[in-house]
């Protein structure tokens, strides 16, 4: 019976994988002068700080989740 796992075949698969993975290495992060799009307000996780603060406040008071979203407190509702 012919063994499927022949050494040369394994070597070829490994080589193919190496070529494929090497493609990932060519990714260049944006240069300092190319970060204009990343600096846009819409790229922030928190696009509108005031709105998210309001949401957080409502969440805390309605869900009894005080302390979960920011510093201090452990959810006991006593602060």
């Amino acid at each position: 019976m012919r063994c499927w796992l022949r050494a040369d075949r394994i070597a070829r698969v490994v080589a193919a994988c190496a070529v494929a993975v090497a493609g990932c290495a060519s990714f260049d992060p944006p240069k300092p002068w190319e970060k204009g799009d990343l600096a846009r307000p819409s790229m922030h996780f928190d696009a509108d700080p005031l709105a998210s603060k309001t949401m957080q406040h409502i969440y805390q008071s309605r869900e009894g989740a005080a302390g979960g979203g920011s510093v201090g407190g452990g959810g006991c509702g006593c602060n």
């Binding site: 040369d8 490994v14 080589a15 070529v19 090497a22 300092p32 002068w33 204009g36």
Partner: protein, 169 residues
């Protein structure tokens, strides 16, 4: 068998080697400033080679860069104080979209020449490490100082250095 394996290894190594880009060369103190020729808003060109004989302060800026905004009033004042003695400030804008730069300049107008490089060839040639970045070039075209970022506490030192360059003809 061994030969096949060696061949495969060679191919894999080659693939890895090809993808490693040649490291860009950052402009260092004592080296000639990379030449550039860029155009101002009114169409007038600014070529670094033509500014030989003047002390040139090349500043890379963008509309989205907050410290750049803080640096402009200082650069305006610096330019107004020393332009008569042979100082030229060249503000190289690296915005991809020109209206962004125009809006910035309406907010903080510049008294010194501003050129535009949306393609980013000039910051690439200098291998700018951060925004803003400034390069002080002496009368012979040699980089004598590299300034990364804008720090209020550095301005006095920098201006003293510029003044020394202006005096040393």
């Amino acid at each position: 068998m061994t030969r096949t394996r060696l061949q495969a290894l060679a191919v894999a190594l080659l693939a890895c080697g090809l993808t490693v880009a040649a490291p860009a060369h950052a402009v260092r103190i004592g080296e000639d400033a990379p030449a550039f020729e860029l155009v101002q808003a009114d169409g007038k060109p600014v070529a670094l080679a033509k500014l030989r004989g003047s002390v040139v302060y090349v500043d890379f800026w963008a509309s989205w860069c907050a410290p750049c905004k803080r640096s402009f009033p200082w650069m305006n004042a610096l330019y107004d104080r020393h332009r008569g003695e042979g100082l030229i400030i060249v503000g190289v804008n690296v915005d991809k979209r020109r209206p962004d730069a125009d809006r910035f300049l309406r907010d903080v107008p510049a008294t010194f020449p501003i050129v535009f490089d949306a393609a980013g060839a000039t910051p690439a040639a200098f291998d700018v490490k951060g925004m803003p970045s400034s390069y002080l070039v002496d009368r012979r075209g040699v980089v004598v100082a590299v300034e990364e970022g804008f720090h209020d506490e550095r301005t006095a030192t920098l201006e003293a250095q510029i003044r020394a360059l202006l005096v040393a003809r």
